[in-house]
């Protein structure tokens, strides 16, 4: 168990959560301020390793579901989240022993932390994907048999919807419809699990990773070192099963965004410092899916792609990309559990309409 007590740590975590969001997951700024307000009010989170849970402990994921442009207006209501906790305990008929993030990338890294802090419930150091994904079923929890529902959904006006579906895929569809009906922003409790399940199915230590990633970028920056190298020193740890490298360095020459079927699609084209011709292309469906150099794949989902501001190494979400920006791109391996065949059937490249198989970033030839 450990805690964090200052704003610098929270900001580091938010920065790390953007990097792990692989372009999606929403700007964690709202979650960051929510957690900072908890610290300002004198509370601090208890972050525990999954191994610290009792096997029969009861753990749920609390997540916000909605459009990034709506979250930045509706923010978050403590009143709603405390009611959601209460309604969930009543609904499940059990006291909640710990909260876990389903999605560490982006804003949903912060909501369980802040709510756990507010309610005095520990937060598990891990999540269900080690990144961000667009669908509710795309979690290690789901792949290994844990159901996303029964689940309690709630909006800020007090509307409550109980969802209990046959499959996690259908849960995704239902939750999305409910979200659209309630103003495009709701909160819910998902993936009720036992402590034993959490230990087996979690992508571990990702809360700590957000903190460490943000810290490496900040400290390298403060000491005038290359912050991209600084963060790579942490991310690339083959002995611990983590592989990362810089896969491109250049200037954005085009960004295409469009909304299709309620999803954010697009692509970003990057030219190297010397030329105007786009050499590097990243496909976007909410998250960065695949990065190709001259058509050759260099990183592909579920491995992560992070686009960083070339100077500050501040990680950029897809919404933040703009023509002319100088960026550096990192390819980062998903956790080993995420690369297993059964996982690739749920969130491998073909699930995103890409006509190729997954290949690990460390086995693909680099762009440079």
């Amino acid at each position: 168990m450990y805690t964090i007590t200052n704003d610098i740590d929270v900001r580091d975590m938010a920065r790390g959560a953007v990097l792990l969001g692989s372009g999606g997951g929403g700007d964690p700024y709202v979650g960051e301020l929510y957690l900072r307000n908890q610290l300002a009010e004198g509370r601090s989170p208890s972050i525990i390793a999954a191994s610290e849970l009792a096997d029969d402990a009861f753990v749920v994921s609390i997540a916000g579901v909605g459009a990034p442009t709506v979250i930045i207006e509706h923010l978050v209501s403590t009143h709603t989240l405390l009611r959601l906790l209460e309604a969930s305990e009543t609904f499940y008929g059990r006291k909640i022993d710990a909260l876990i993030s389903a999605e560490i990338g982006g804003v949903n890294s912060m909501f369980p932390l802040a709510l756990g802090t507010r309610a005095g419930i520990p937060i598990v150091d891990g999540d269900g994907m080690g990144r961000a994904f667009p669908h509710l079923e795309m979690t290690t929890f789901g792949v290994y048999g844990c159901a996303a529902t029964p689940s309690v959904l709630m909006d800020d006006s007090g509307n409550v919807v109980h969802v209990h579906t046959k499959t996690n895929r259908i849960a995704e569809e239902v939750v999305r419809s409910v979200c659209a009906s309630l103003g495009s922003m709701i909160f819910g409790s998902f993936y009720p699990m036992s402590g034993r399940q959490v230990k087996q199915l979690t992508v571990h230590h990702t809360v700590t990773h957000t903190l460490e990633i943000g810290r490496r970028i900040r400290t390298a920056r403060d000491s005038q070192l290359d912050p991209v190298k600084g963060v790579l020193q942490f991310l690339n740890a083959p002995a611990e099963g983590r592989h990362a490298r810089e896969i491109f360095n250049g200037r954005i020459v085009d960004v295409v965004h469009e909304t299709r079927d309620g999803w954010h699609w697009g692509c970003v084209l990057i030219a190297s410092g010397a030329g105007r011709e786009p050499e590097f292309r990243i496909e976007i469906q909410n998250e960065y899916l695949v990065a190709r150099h001259h058509g050759r794949t260099v990183t592909i989902v579920p491995d992560l792609i992070a686009i960083l501001d070339a100077e500050s190494a501040e990680p950029l979400t897809a919404e933040m990309l703009a023509y002319g920006q100088r960026v550096r791109v990192i390819g980062y391996s998903a956790a080993p559990i995420m690369r297993r065949p059964e996982c690739l059937k749920v969130f491998g490249p073909r699930l995103f309409g890409l006509d190729e198989d997954f290949r690990p970033v460390e086995e693909l030839q680099g762009a440079e």
Binding site: Y29, L33, R36, E73, L75, T259, G262, N286, E319
Partner: protein
């Protein structure tokens, strides 16, 4: 712009007040005076200087354009700010993040922490999720009145979609607190409640100062006998009326660098270049794209507070004409400290004891300044090593600003440019235009007017239809702001689609810019 009527361009900076008189595209005269505690005095001094030199009567001026860093400097230095109350109409939403979370403590100490939340607000599609709680709002207004606070920043959920909710709420507040001076968030920001609320709060805290400064500037010009309309420069290099400036001082907060970059563009005729403003302590690099400064893409902090204002992308490095030089030829070090405005007292050539970059430039024979005999004993090897370091640092910073390895032209402005004497790697040409030291005032004098749109559009009827509507709204806004209709151009268009929605709602931002119709605002 009228090609024969003279205009007065002024830059009221922290240290100096600069002025130029321009007729058409020509700078007729320029002058520089110290900024005074009451900014009107400095304005009178500098305006009189240029008018006298040009032998013009004050009444011959057709317009006065003023750029000033007074408001941003006051906010950053936490001075002349008023206490301000934050009223947010958004319950039952947003209570997890009350107003001013994350604000620097030294700022909260000055403006106070007076946050209030009441019910009301809109969904993205304009439906209200809660009725405006007028009773609670009236109570809040009375409480603020009892605290003796007049400045109020009022923010409601999705105000850019439903500005009328903020307007109704303001009426309720004014009934209970007639002296209230309210900034409505939708008037100063787009989507993003926290950033917009922050902008409204900053604006509110500056309004009293803005009235004082604008009154002083108007009074000064009136005293001189200038009858021409007065405009202020805003962030994007376009003009606003003095009345608008007193209500929305926040929109002037990055006008300083913008005017400097645009002034440099004008003085050289370049549309695409790096503009390097070398002062005594720092060098600021900006990037000129199609005649306008390149803006940053990420969040912007104003005095430690995040807002959604876009700012010129400026890189500052600690190197200027007053930067101190230490060490020997084989291990020379530059700054980062500078003797700053004390250059004329502390540097060697002016009889001081500190070796500065300017001393090196004089020793190298690039410029004659002060007493060269004071630096004649400096070894040539140290001079060469220092010049190597200066040029290397500048070249590195140019490289950081560039978007490609193609050589770019560089425009040098600011008094410190004398420290550069060699060709610069990565540049096609280094321009040192005449009047470079008053580029800010020139930038103010050549300003245009703009109109902006930032809201949700429904793409159901087709993207082109919606974008045409957005462009038309921006164009109309520019004309309403005083642009000559034929001159209005769309200079920026951004689309941000929304996920998790049934409708095809897209956030569209458009900016239109046109030439000022003299006497229009």
């Amino acid at each position: 712009m009228n090609t024969v009527a003279p205009v007065l361009g002024v830059d009221v900076g922290g240290t100096n007040t600069d002025a130029v008189i321009m007729v058409g595209d020509e700078v007729i005269v320029a002058a520089k005076r110290s900024t005074t505690p009451d900014v009107g005095d400095g304005l009178i001094a500098v305006a009189r200087a240029v008018l006298d030199e040009a032998k013009m009567s004050p009444s011959s001026l057709s317009a006065v354009m003023i750029g000033t860093t007074q408001f941003i400097n006051a906010f950053v230095q936490r001075r002349d700010l008023t206490q301000v109350a934050a009223v947010r109409v958004a319950l039952p939403k947003t209570d997890g993040i009350p107003p001013m979370v994350g604000w620097p403590q030294d700022l909260v100490d000055v403006v106070g922490r007076h946050g209030y939340l009441v019910s009301g607000g809109s969904f993205y599609d304009g439906r209200e999720y809660a009725d405006l709680d007028t009773e609670a709002l009236a109570q809040v207004a009375r409480d603020i009145k009892d605290k003796g606070i007049r400045a109020i920043a009022l923010t409601s959920g999705f105000a850019p979609v439903r500005p009328d909710i903020e307007q109704r709420a303001a009426e309720v507040i004014l009934r209970a607190h007639p002296e209230a001076d309210i900034t409505l968030s939708h008037e100063v920001g787009g989507l993003g409640l926290i950033d917009r609320e922050n902008a409204a709060l900053i604006n509110s805290s500056l309004r009293q100062l803005s009235r004082k400064v604008v009154t002083s500037l108007q009074g000064a010009l009136g005293q001189l006998g200038v009858g021409a309309p007065i405009y202020l420069s805003q962030n994007d290099g376009t003009l606003i009326s003095t009345d608008y400036a007193t209500r929305f001082p926040i929109v002037t907060c990055s006008a300083g660098p913008t005017n400097s970059i645009r002034g440099a563009a004008f003085l050289t005729g370049l549309q695409d270049a790096i503009v390097m403003d070398i002062g005594g302590t720092t060098t600021d690099l900006g990037f000129l794209v199609k005649g306008f400064p390149r803006e940053t893409a990420t969040a912007h902090l104003i005095g430690g507070v995040r807002t959604n204002f876009r700012m010129p992308d400026v890189l500052s490095i600690a190197l200027g004409g007053g930067t101190r030089v230490r060490g020997s030829a084989d291990a020379v070090s530059l700054g980062p400290d500078s003797v700053g405005y004390e250059l004329t007292r502390r540097s060697l050539i002016f009889g001081g004891a500190d070796l500065t970059t300017t001393d090196i430039a004089v020793r190298a024979g690039h410029v004659s300044l002060g007493d060269p005999s004071k630096v004649s004993s400096i070894e040539q090897s140290l001079v060469d090593a220092t010049l190597d370091r200066i040029h290397l640092q500048i070249e590195d910073s140019i490289d950081q600003m560039k978007t490609s390895s193609q050589p770019v032209p560089v425009i040098l402005v600011g008094g410190g440019h004398i420290i550069l004497s060699r060709a610069l790697r990565g540049t096609s040409k280094v321009h040192r235009p005449r009047h470079a030291d008053v580029a800010n005032a020139v930038g103010a004098a050549i300003s245009m007017v703009s109109g902006r749109v930032d809201r949700m559009f429904d793409f159901a009827a087709g993207r082109e239809v919606a974008l045409d509507q957005a462009k038309e709204e921006a164009r109309s806004a520019a004309i309403a702001a005083g642009a000559v209709p034929d001159s209005v151009e769309i200079v920026e268009l951004t689309e941000l689609p929304m996920t998790h929605m049934r409708t095809s709602a897209v956030q569209v931002k458009v900016r239109a810019v046109g030439k000022l119709r003299v006497g229009a605002l």
